[in-house]
Amino acid sequence: MRMRTAGVVILLAVLAIRPAPAQENSPIDLTGTWRWINHEDERDRNPGAFPGDYRGLPLNDAARMRADTYDEEVNTTSSLLQCRPRTPGYQPKGLDPMRIDKIIDPLTRQLVAYRISYEKTAGERVIWLDGRPAPSQYALHSWEGFSTGKFRGDTFEITTTHLKESYVRRNGVATSFRATVIEHMSLEEPYLEVTFTVIDPDYLTEPLVRSATYMRAPTLQLPPYPCQPEENQAGEKYRVPHYLPGENPYLTESGFKYKTPQEGVRGGADSLYPEWRARGVTLAPPATQSTIKPVYTDASTHFAERADASRPRTPVYDKVEALHVAGNVYLIAGAGGNIVVSAGGDGMVMVDSGAAAASDRVLAAVREIHLALRPPEMPESASPFGNTWQTTHALPEPMIRMIINTSSNPDHVGGNANVRMSPLFRLLGYRDPSLSLQVLAHAAVQRRMVESKAPSPLVPTDTYLSDTYTLYRFFNNQAVQIFHMPRAITDGDSVVWFRRSDAIAAGDVYNSDIYPPIDVDKGGSVNGEIDALNRLTGMSVTEFMSQGGTMIIPGHGWISDAADVGYYRDMLMVIRDRIQAMVDKGMTLAQVKTAKPTMDYDPEYGREPGVTSRFVEAVYRSLKEKKK
């Protein structure tokens, strides 16, 4: 009896520890090299669609206005756009050969991801199958985005987020950085059918579903693609080719040449369905090619008004995150304005301090960063001071050595007092704290805060007046340089460059998803802001094909690179030119606001109450006052 019991126990134990079953085979073999088949959309895929041809696109009026005013020449004048890769929302239309490889975990031998390369893609798309969560909302957006995949039967489904702004047609129909792309790959040897769907809350009213076909090409080798951007406007001031609203002469070209009713050419969800055909056959195509003045009336024209009508939200700082940016530079996000920290053996330099109400969580994030620090790096310089400080200082707890303020905006300086009073604020230098650098900003920031009677613990203790200010010594093995951006958001804006980490804290000079808060009363101006963004892109280098390299941390939003800042600058230049034309015509501020000169960008940058109105007013006033 006892033996029988023991046998049962042993049997159960053996069953309990049996090895996990091997992962099931993939339902289809996606791996290999694939050649595109150019059997559809010839005009779209080869020479490129005519300007103004939006057939088959469920776009809204904001997207129409943006495309109507778009000039494709911008792709040759902007060095940041010449090598811009396609995102998955357009790539399958891009005539590129494609290679798909498996990524296998060498330990478990399980398939953890697919890697997809295209001829004209900067990096390699990795499609994760291991169920990992999406990155933070403050993580860098890329041309490839972040992708996860799963098999649905014998169809492979890919979902991609964290994309940069891009296009769905090469005539200026934009996709937002908020877009999601869902791809379905199905195999009918030797053909691979890719159906790709763009879901864009900013510019599309319905999902845009398209498809492309590839054919196996086992002997095909993807060629190298050494894309080299050219500075085609050498010696000239940077310009963004574009048309003012109502001045693009090419919007009827497609309808006229293809004898298609203009209403159909203008696209929109209605025109995609068979029911529209009955209406379409009653409409006449344009008799001539002429300039039209489109009227934009759909719901997207009210985007800013809807934002204004929504109840302003009381800021909540319940989710403060710490993200690694580059080298020894980190971002603390969710505490009002973004906070940037250089952390290492020398302690921490903190750029901005966030909102006052978030300080406890900010200090918790500081401790989190401190715990995540890597061991001190080995000296890599022949400099007599190279790393001697760092290698001899193993800090038991985080020490915030100083704060640098990029502006006087409350959500950037609000935490100054709390951080200064915290036990983590341990100054460098003299024993007398009044002699040490504590809170540094441009002199204009201190002056304005004193004038506005800000509580003294918030006010910067130390100032600089020059164009560039360099901290007196390397800090965490790198130079820290501060650049004054005169007349940008205010007259006292600074950006802070951590040189070895190649990361720049931009403050509110650059915000990734909201219009810049230009304050004319504090010395800000749209042209100064554009100059500042030009300087910022000039200081930055992308790693390859307009992506990566210098990391730029905005005042609000996600970690960015020079391409993101370039887009933002171009947006400002387009809006500046539109409002300048209105000022030149003698239009009043009320008339300018009614004309909605930012309507096409509002879905991306005007989602907060009052932001669009304040921005338009600031641009108008700075241009009007310049004219006086």
Partner: protein, 132 residues
């Protein structure tokens, strides 16, 4: 005999359409229904991906110089047709036939044919127009 004209048409179409797998849209950037001629001096040759650029300086009657940016195929496509860095040199007097930019007042254009006026060496995208 009846098939010959069809074959000729097919051949003509294939020869006349150099496969330019444009990164950006050539049709959207340039007005392909218009042709302009630019006479000047080559000041820079940049053969690269995704598109190459030739820079031609044109002097007007008043003596002031204007630089034209002529966009062409990728370096690999030029190389397949015998155009390398030595084909056209800095300082060469050239005549360029091109599609103008759609953008008002632009000095960008798309290359159709380039000829060095001193010896007639040329390259073009038309039928039979490669290196001669």
């Amino acid at each position: 005999m009846k098939r010959a004209p069809v074959a000729l048409v097919v051949a003509a179409v294939l020869l006349s359409s150099v496969p330019i797998h444009a990164h950006h849209s050539f049709g959207g950037t340039y007005d392909v229904s218009k042709v302009i001629t630019i006479k000047g001096k080559m000041v820079q040759v940049t053969l690269r991906a995704p598109h190459s650029f030739l820079y031609v300086e044109v002097e007007d009657a008043g003596g002031s110089a204007k630089q034209w940016v002529i966009e062409g195929a990728t370096a690999a496509q030029f190389a397949r047709q015998g155009i390398d860095k030595d084909a056209f040199k800095i300082g060469d007097p050239v005549e360029v036939v091109a599609n103008p930019s759609r953008s008002p007042n632009s000095t960008h254009a798309r290359l159709i044919k380039i000829t060095r006026t001193t010896d007639g060496k040329s390259w073009g995208t038309g039928t039979g127009e490669t290196v001669n």
